[in-house]
Symmetry: C2
Subunit: 150 residues, 2 copies
């Protein structure tokens, strides 16, 4: 199925992030025709930028390519539940569908904590599909933090 293959690309980006010493999270942005327009892994350490989460990077790249601050009809695949920052950016960009992998009880902002899409103030609520390749995404994170804190 197509969403599985886009999530595999996101997992590839997550593994590449881990290799750079970044928290292994990857994201893929897909346009309404099903074409990948941006793919990225976390780069917060490399860029000294706390906003350089994988989701923010693909949204910024996709918007720059589209010449628009909105991406209607687009889908975003990300290996981990988006935090409140990324969820709000997804809403601001009017992204239609979000597919994510592992749940993030500690920093997630979709099904946990701020639950950004669950407030009447949220201007645009995407369709959300969770648990896609979740075990694989979670294993990447577990291995990364295990290696850092032996």
């Amino acid at each position: 199925m197509r969403f599985t293959s886009h999530m595999q690309t996101a997992l590839f980006e997550a593994r590449a992030a881990a290799d750079r010493g970044e928290v292994p999270v990857g994201a893929v942005l897909v346009d309404p025709r099903g074409q990948v327009v941006a793919q990225a892994g976390n780069r917060t350490r490399e860029l000294h930028d706390p906003t350089a989460h994988a989701e923010i990077l693909v949204i910024r790249e996709g918007c720059a390519k589209a010449g628009s601050e909105r991406l209607p009809g687009h889908a975003l695949y990300v290996t981990l539940e988006p935090c409140a920052m990324c969820a709000t950016a997804i809403s601001a960009a009017r992204i239609s569908r979000v597919y994510y992998g592992a749940a993030d009880p500690k920093s997630g902002g979709v099904a946990h904590g701020a639950r950004v899409f669950s407030h009447p103030q949220c201007h645009h609520v995407p369709e959300v599909y969770d648990g896609i390749s979740a075990a694989e995404a979670e294993a990447l994170l577990t291995d990364f933090f295990k290696a850092k804190r032996p």
Copy 2:
């Protein structure tokens, strides 16, 4: 008082944003010695970037200058209540104090909606001071939207 003068700089940035056709919100980032390290107004339209809120722009610039994804001891002044994206970025950047002007019942994420700092998951909660030069900040926004929707 010093915080009033930094908010005046933020209001200057908000007015400059309005002159560029951007939603008039301005922000100033101040380092622990009280020096302004970054100041910006919204640039979402100009940059085709839904994440280019004033707060995000000063955080990114401040982190780039500091060579760090964290800005402990820093203060952020912004003319409008931060949205959930900006509030989460403020927390991720470990900013110590946030001074804001007008309340934003529609899109705010501090005292409204997602209330980002109010969840046990929030890793870092800054001190928050609201209502600083609020009438001035609100008038800018009201005038801007009145002119756009005659």
